[in-house]
């Protein structure tokens, strides 16, 4: 019985590690901001659940398992909320959805620049065209 639980926990932990690793690579490598956010949400969702479930199998019925469950619920509640707030703030600041901003493109630099209003108007015009 212990061996079965060990093997299950091994599998869960390894799968969680793979998910986290792939999400990290995606956070670094994907081309636009929203795709990078998609990769980061991968580690927030599946990686967290798999890793913490794997540790919970090792912990058994104890106080540590209860704490792990609390951490899991907290992370599952806060992760999507933070992702939503981030996407909302980026969209409201006029960041385009389809814009190809590589590492060399300075379109959305840290400092305020003057094209934000025009960017927003362009995207609004595109939206209007689509609606028409």
């Amino acid at each position: 019985m212990t061996t079965v639980i060990d093997i299950l926990s091994w599998i869960l932990l390894l799968a969680g590690g793979i998910f986290v690793f792939v999400g990290g690579i995606g956070t670094l490598r994907l081309p636009t901001f929203y795709t990078r956010m998609h990769a980061a949400s991968l580690t927030d969702g599946m990686g967290t659940v798999l890793i913490i479930l794997g540790i919970m199998l090792q912990a058994g019925w104890s106080l540590a398992a209860a704490k792990l469950l609390t951490i899991l619920v907290l992370l599952l509640l806060t992760g999507p909320t933070a992702s939503y707030a981030l996407a909302n703030a980026a969209l409201l600041s006029g960041m385009n959805l389809e814009e190809d901003e590589g590492n060399g493109n300075k379109a959305h630099e840290d400092k305020p620049h003057e094209d934000k209003v025009s960017d927003r108007k362009i995207s609004e015009n595109k939206l209007n065209e689509v609606e028409k």
Partner: protein, 104 residues
């Protein structure tokens, strides 16, 4: 087995740090910091069982809460800033158009 998972989490944290240094926009940096914080929580949970000290789970719990509140506060700040800039630019554009109309 804990070593493998903690190694993967550490590599992901390093990649997120690289993205935070590279990231062209502010929001990329905020995203990377968010990923870094979540991975710190996971790493603390794994280390608690790696070293057999379940006390670390309390630290992980506290870190998860602080990370969430911090990200929301930073986002609120940047959103207010971008709103302020948009309002200012729109006001300038309106005044510019009014002036040109008067000249015509």
């Amino acid at each position: 087995m804990y070593y493998v998972v903690s190694f993967a989490i550490l590599i992901t944290m390093a990649l997120a740090l690289v993205r935070a240094l590279l990231g062209p926009s502010v929001y990329d940096r905020v995203l990377s910091v968010n990923v870094f914080g979540t991975k710190t929580t996971l790493l603390l949970s794994v280390i608690a069982f790696l070293y057999g000290r379940p006390d670390f789970l309390d630290l992980a719990l506290a870190y998860a809460m602080i990370n969430f509140i911090g990200i929301l506060a930073v986002l609120q700040f940047f959103q207010a800033r971008s709103n302020r800039q948009l309002n200012q630019q729109q006001r300038q554009q309106l005044h510019g158009e009014d002036l040109s109309d008067n000249r015509d």
